[in-house]
């Protein structure tokens, strides 16, 4: 069995204590559900000396603050799945397996470590390869360049959060800040989110959608359970009559960075068949899957087109 060693565990009772413990300890890592971190430790990808346990420190609440819904980052994914929230609950319901959803948290899925077939391997496997720039090696094994790591951000929930316009509330010894999620995401498998070291996600804030808003998420995976996605599409649509009042489309699990597609040009126009086709083609143009996880890249790109078209058609039909 792969064994772990070399770390101690400190239990934080509040986010403030958690960030203080993190700051005080060398080589610390936060652990909540542990379903993403512990496999990385077992594979020697992360070698923390202190684990700061935040499972009980993180809020696991749902607060209605009028214009916003404030979700505690400590909500377990199965709880998020049961909230009945547009897009996000469906996305959470598809994460991993029931066991992963019972332990894994919303915060953990937002902060998911990007994945790569050259990285998420045992030390012996990586030693055979000579490592990659993210671990023990000089360059990215996918691109052959040292420019950046292109591990795939396989979070199920990020695309949903992007179309919902989520903001993240972050806690650090310097205080708290609140930033739109879209502004934090980076195209870098080694640093997929623009956070300061030791900064802790405490809340995910969802602006209340306008009445009539409809959402849909779709996940592409090899199996019906357990797997990380090879593609996630999320679509948010609000129509008045046939005219688009609000539209957001996000695509994830194809690169280090889940992204919103540039669809503003379609707002204010009727969502006729042709527009649906244009948007599907836009998805195909903008989605450039990186070959860092399983799944043929050309195929995933084509499926993105089909999924976006079908999502728009189904949302339009609901309206």
């Amino acid at each position: 069995m792969l064994r772990m060693q070399g770390f101690t565990v400190q239990v934080a009772r509040s986010p403030e204590e958690a960030v203080a413990l993190y700051a005080a300890a060398p080589d610390a890592a936060f652990i909540a559900g542990g379903t993403d971190l512990l496999p990385e430790i077992k594979l020697g990808l992360s070698q923390p000396r202190t684990l700061v346990a935040i499972g009980t420190a993180l809020p696991a609440t749902v607060q209605d603050e009028g214009a916003d819904l404030v979700l505690g980052a400590g909500l377990r994914l199965e709880q998020v799945a049961a909230l009945g929230l547009p897009a996000l609950s469906a996305a959470a319901a598809h994460v991993g397996s029931p066991q992963v959803r019972a332990a894994g948290t919303l915060g953990g899925n937002v902060m998911l470590s990007p994945r790569c077939m050259y990285y998420n391997q045992t030390p012996a496997w990586r030693a055979s390869l000579g490592g990659c720039m993210r671990a023990e090696g000089p360059l990215c094994r996918v691109t052959g360049s040292a420019a950046r790591c292109v591990a795939t951000q396989c979070s199920d929930t990020l695309p949903a959060l992007l179309v919902l316009g989520a903001r993240l509330r972050l806690c650090s010894p310097a205080g708290t800040r609140e930033v739109p999620l879209a502004d934090l995401l980076r195209y870098d498998g080694m640093r997929p989110m623009d956070l300061a070291p030791g900064e802790l996600l405490t809340h995910v804030i969802l602006p209340r959608p306008a009445p009539g808003t409809r959402c849909r998420v779709d996940k592409l995976a090899a199996r019906g359970s357990i797997d990380f996605p090879m593609l996630v599409t999320a679509v948010l649509l609000r129509l008045r009559g046939a005219v688009v009042e609000e539209l957001r489309i996000a695509v994830g699990a194809v690169s280090p960075q889940p992204r919103l597609l540039p669809v503003d040009a379609w707002v204010g126009r009727p969502l006729h068949e042709a527009a649906v086709g244009e948007l599907a083609d836009l998805a195909w143009q903008k989605v450039r899957p990186v070959a860092s996880v399983e799944g043929d890249v050309a195929w995933r790109r084509e499926v993105a087109r089909v999924t976006v078209r079908r999502a728009l058609e189904s949302l339009r039909a609901e309206a």
Partner: protein, 922 residues
């Protein structure tokens, strides 16, 4: 190592204070500190669900839960579960190897506590994180629904005229496995036990110039280190091709080939020691594909086991011709010719290989191992460790799935024994999941050129194939694989003329070997797809085309294999009716389709691996004075149900209550030899051996009772539980009394033995014994698929699987074998692939990326048992564990064609390839 911490855990309602390293998971503390070994470890890192426990009622992966953080919560394990679910699992026939089942029970329990009346889809979702490799999930899902709905399933009674045959007797070990009582190898520990690890090659091909163990030796906690030089004797399960050693001696031949083994106080220290070992390698050009292997710019083996220089990488070539092949093609009105490629894949049992070795003070070696072949392991241990075989004992604890992947000696067994000898203490080696993938011995990739001709009225005229087999670094069973890829294709669809050439090549990859359906799943895929193409070409119904070419019972195939019974026609009839083939085929909308395929498979081989004059299988019965009979047999119960089969036979012959029959198997000290669980030989061969022993005993018991009653022997009738007088059924004696009577009459312990002796079978030509079996099973499948033509997404909607098992000794277990075979073939058809990158590294050496099917997407399977009562088998029984795998792959392939009009000639049928094929055709 970090300081241990004191943990206060509440487990199954009891408080425990344990000292454990802070980095230990809940799984490690449960298994190795609290002796709660019912919770299993399968995948290292949360990919299989075998370690599922309940934490505050939530299904939780104990391998991804720090024990420190489970304090203050209510932990429940299978040991704390009531028996309600377990009994339902047993009654539904949901248990095979049993390894995944404690975790499965915990997930089911969590569901039922949250949702007492779940729908089937909810059950499948709730079990979606628990992989099962044996069952295909249908019976597991059914068992959970049974509990929810309060359904009690009673076992079916014996078949008419029988006392036990045909009854759904529960397995003797099912409840024990479900509840975590029955030990698997890693559940065992011995005083002073050390833990071993094996250092593996980072190179696909390299010469070993030197090994420096000094730093590793100096590490505190290290007790033994061995290298290839310590175990230089080459071996192979097939005695004619001994081309591997326990650890590499001269060269490494794949990424993962074993080089050094260490034993230390714990796995962490063993790992640390291996990091200190310095191996000086001279990298060599690697041979990673068939074309390179054939061109042979480098040789994987420069010399063979006799020291003869090799000129190429072809390690076995078979070329045979039967009948008038050229004339057959000349007479054909239609000929299909194409190239198919069958990708390699692996067994992936949920239990990783594990071995524990101990030498006693007198110099006797005992090895406990998760093996299908205790007898061959016994033999190889003696040879490689240079110890008198009389001093070697092999014990096979419960085996958590095997499927051919544990059917030969592995480095861990030999290394554990060598390390234990050097250390003077017991040594256990448990493979990591990556090592299970590296050990492999799975399905060979095959490139298959096949040509098939038929006349306009649908009579096949000739078949020809040319096959290249990608063998990996060593032989394993590869010689047999090469033969089987040609020999076993000649039924149940009769080939009137047949020519084949099959060549197996060494490559610098983990060694391929026998996976369920050994040798013929790949060519069967090509042949059955070609038959389908011919049917389309000729405008014939594919079922009808197969009917017209059915091999009759009691006939010889073109390569002279005698086939006593062929259930092809009833199997085809059954799947045709069950699937609604006639009414629905051709009328389904675009994207939906039906496909059919058939197969035939051996029930053991007439040619044993080590030819001797001794029987292939022996059984001993020993009666005690309480009315119990102990059946001893070397047969390896690996989840297929061979222990239950032995009970059925003895109970059938003696009328004894099945619960009064105790089975001792898998211990070379205690049992007569049986060669092992491979080649689907156990039911036929051990069954006949048990039948012979039981009939001998019965005759003696009849004599004793007849004498006591003062009647002729033919007046004694064997009944269930009691024997009675034919003329006066009121006069009876319980079986226990008859046993005591016989022991008294004979004046010595009541023992009987029986055997299966190999008969000469097979063709008159050299190699003609290969593929010769006393009996052959037949299978027909219809698969229904749904293809999304815009994404290539493929869904298998339903599978109908009719299997001619000769006679179902235990219908529930037979159906379980059929369903499990379909499930495994389904994975091969859709998802699974054992492939390598340009450096020869396994692409997906984990249960996450490799992707065993889950309960969510696995298709429903209707198993239909067809009984042809083969004269060669016990009560007519033939094999059921391997044949039913073959047809599902071509059946799905043919259904895809029916659905969307494209032929996929490469497995697995990935949606990307399906979409590309669809777009290519327009």
């Amino acid at each position: 190592m970090a300081e241990p911490v004191v943990l206060h855990l509440r487990v199954n309602g009891q408080e425990h204070a344990v000292l454990a390293p802070a980095a230990w998971t809940l799984l490690e503390v449960l298994r190795y500190q609290l002796d709660l070994t019912g919770t299993k470890q399968g995948c290292d890192k949360g990919d299989c669900g075998a370690c599922t426990v309940l934490v505050d009622g939530r299904p939780t992966l104990s391998c991804l839960t720090l024990a420190v953080l489970a304090q203050g919560q209510e932990v429940r394990t299978v040991e704390g579960l009531d028996r309600r679910l377990a009994r339902a699992f047993e009654a539904a026939g949901a248990v095979q190897c049993g390894f995944c089942q404690p975790g499965m029970l915990m997930s089911a329990q969590a569901l039922l506590e949250r949702e007492p009346q779940p729908a089937e889809a909810q059950v499948r979702q709730a079990l979606g994180g628990n992989l099962c490799r044996c069952t295909g999930y249908g019976r597991i899902v059914q068992a959970v629904l049974d509990v929810a709905q309060g359904v009690e399933r009673l076992p079916s009674p014996p078949a008419p005229g029988h006392l036990a045959v045909g009854a759904d007797l529960p397995r003797p070990d099912s409840l024990g496995k479900l509840l975590g009582e029955v030990p698997f190898t890693d559940d065992l520990s011995l005083p002073g036990m050390l833990h071993g690890r094996i250092l593996r090659s980072p190179h696909a091909h390299a010469r070993i110039r030197g090994i420096d163990l000094s730093a590793a030796h100096a590490l505190p906690g290290v007790h033994a280190l061995v290298t290839g030089a310590d175990l230089p004797t080459p071996y192979c399960v097939i005695p004619w091709t001994p081309d591997e050693t326990a650890l590499c001696t001269d060269k490494v031949r794949y990424v993962g080939d074993g080089v050094v083994a260490v034993a230390a106080r714990d796995e962490e220290t063993a790992d640390a020691a291996l990091r200190l070992v310095k191996v000086d390698y001279e990298p060599l050009p690697a041979v990673l594909d068939l074309d390179t292997a054939e061109a042979a710019p480098a040789l994987v083996h420069e010399v063979d086991w006799k020291g003869r220089a090799r000129r190429d990488n072809c390690c076995k070539e078979v070329a045979m011709a039967f009948g008038e092949v050229d004339a057959g093609f000349a007479a054909a009105d239609a000929v299909v010719e194409d190239t198919w490629f069958y990708e390699g894949n692996t067994h992936a049992p949920i239990e990783p290989h594990c071995a524990l070795a101990r030498w006693d003070a007198a110099g006797n070696l005992t090895v406990w191992s998760a093996t299908q072949v205790p007898h061959y392991l016994h033999k190889t241990l003696a040879e490689v460790l240079a110890v008198d075989p009389a001093r070697v004992r092999v014990v096979r604890p419960a085996v958590g799935g095997a499927f051919g992947g544990k059917s030969e000696p592995f480095d861990l067994e030999l290394c554990a024994a060598a390390l234990a000898r050097q250390a003077g203490r017991p040594v256990k080696i448990l493979y990591t999941r990556e090592e299970v993938f590296l050990a492999h011995r799975g399905r060979h990739p095959m490139e298959l050129r096949l040509r098939l001709g038929a006349t306009a009225d649908g009579r096949l005229t000739a078949c020809e194939s040319d096959i290249r087999v990608d063998g990996g670094a060593y032989h394993s069973f590869g010689m047999v694989t090469t033969w089987y890829s040609g020999q076993l294709l000649t039924g149940p669809v009769h080939l009137p003329a047949y020519r084949y050439r099959s060549r197996r090549f060494y490559t610098n990859k983990p060694c391929c070997g026998p996976k369920r359906g050994h040798g013929t799943v790949q060519p069967r895929f090509a042949l059955e797809c070609a038959i389908d193409e011919l049917a389309v070409r000729l405008g014939l119904d594919p079922i009808e085309l197969r009917r017209r070419n059915a091999l009759p019972s009691g006939s010889h195939t073109i390569n002279e294999l005698y086939v006593p019974t062929v259930g092809l026609l009833p199997c085809l009839d059954a799947v045709e009716a069950a699937s609604g083939w006639k009414e629905r085929r051709g009328k389904l909308p675009f994207g939906r389709g039906l496909g059919v395929a058939v197969s035939m498979y051996i029930s053991g081989t007439a040619y044993p691996i080590h030819p001797t004059d001794m029987p292939q299988s022996g059984v001993q019965l020993l009666a005690d004075r309480s009315g119990r009979i102990t059946v001893s047999c070397g047969a390896a119960e690996i989840g297929q149900g061979s222990d239950a089969m032995l009970i059925t036979v003895v109970s059938e012959e003696l009328g004894i209550d099945p619960e009064a029959v105790r089975v001792v198997t898998g211990d070379t000290d205690l049992t007569p030899v049986d060669l092992g669980s491979y080649s689907s030989r156990v039911t036929l061969m051990c069954g006949l051996a048990a039948q012979e022993a039981a009939r001998d005993l019965r005759g003696r018991m009849v004599a004793a009772l007849a004498r006591r009653w003062g009647v002729a022997e033919d007046q004694v009738v064997v009944g269930r539980g009691a024997w009675f007088l034919r003329t006066d059924p009121g006069r009876s004696a319980p079986v226990a009394e008859v046993l005591r009577l016989a022991e008294g009459a004979e004046g010595r312990p009541l023992v009987a033995v029986g055997a299966y002796r190999t008969r000469k079978l097979g063709g008159s030509y050299p190699g003609g014994t290969i593929g010769a079996s006393p009996a052959y099973s037949t299978t027909a499948h219809v698969a229904e698929v749904e293809v999304d033509p815009q994404t290539g997404h493929l869904r298998v909607v339903q599978v109908w699987a009719a299997h001619d098992c000769g006679r179902a000794l235990n219908p529930k277990l037979v159906a379980g074998q059929v369903e499990g075979s379909v499930a495994m073939g389904y994975g091969e058809a859709l998802i699974e692939a054992q492939t390598y990158d340009e450096g020869g590294r396994l692409r997906a050496p984990s249960l996450l990326e490799y992707g065993l099917p889950t309960a969510v997407e696995s298709p429903p399977v209707q198993a239909i048992l067809v009984e042809t009562l083969d004269p060669q088998g016990p009560y007519g029984a033939k094999e059921a564990g391997e044949g039913p795998l073959h047809p599902i792959i071509p059946a799905i392939g043919n259904a895809i064609f029916d659905a969307v009009g494209v032929r996929l000639r490469r497995t697995p049928f990935r949606p990307a390839d399906l979409l590309a094929a669809l777009q290519g055709t327009g």
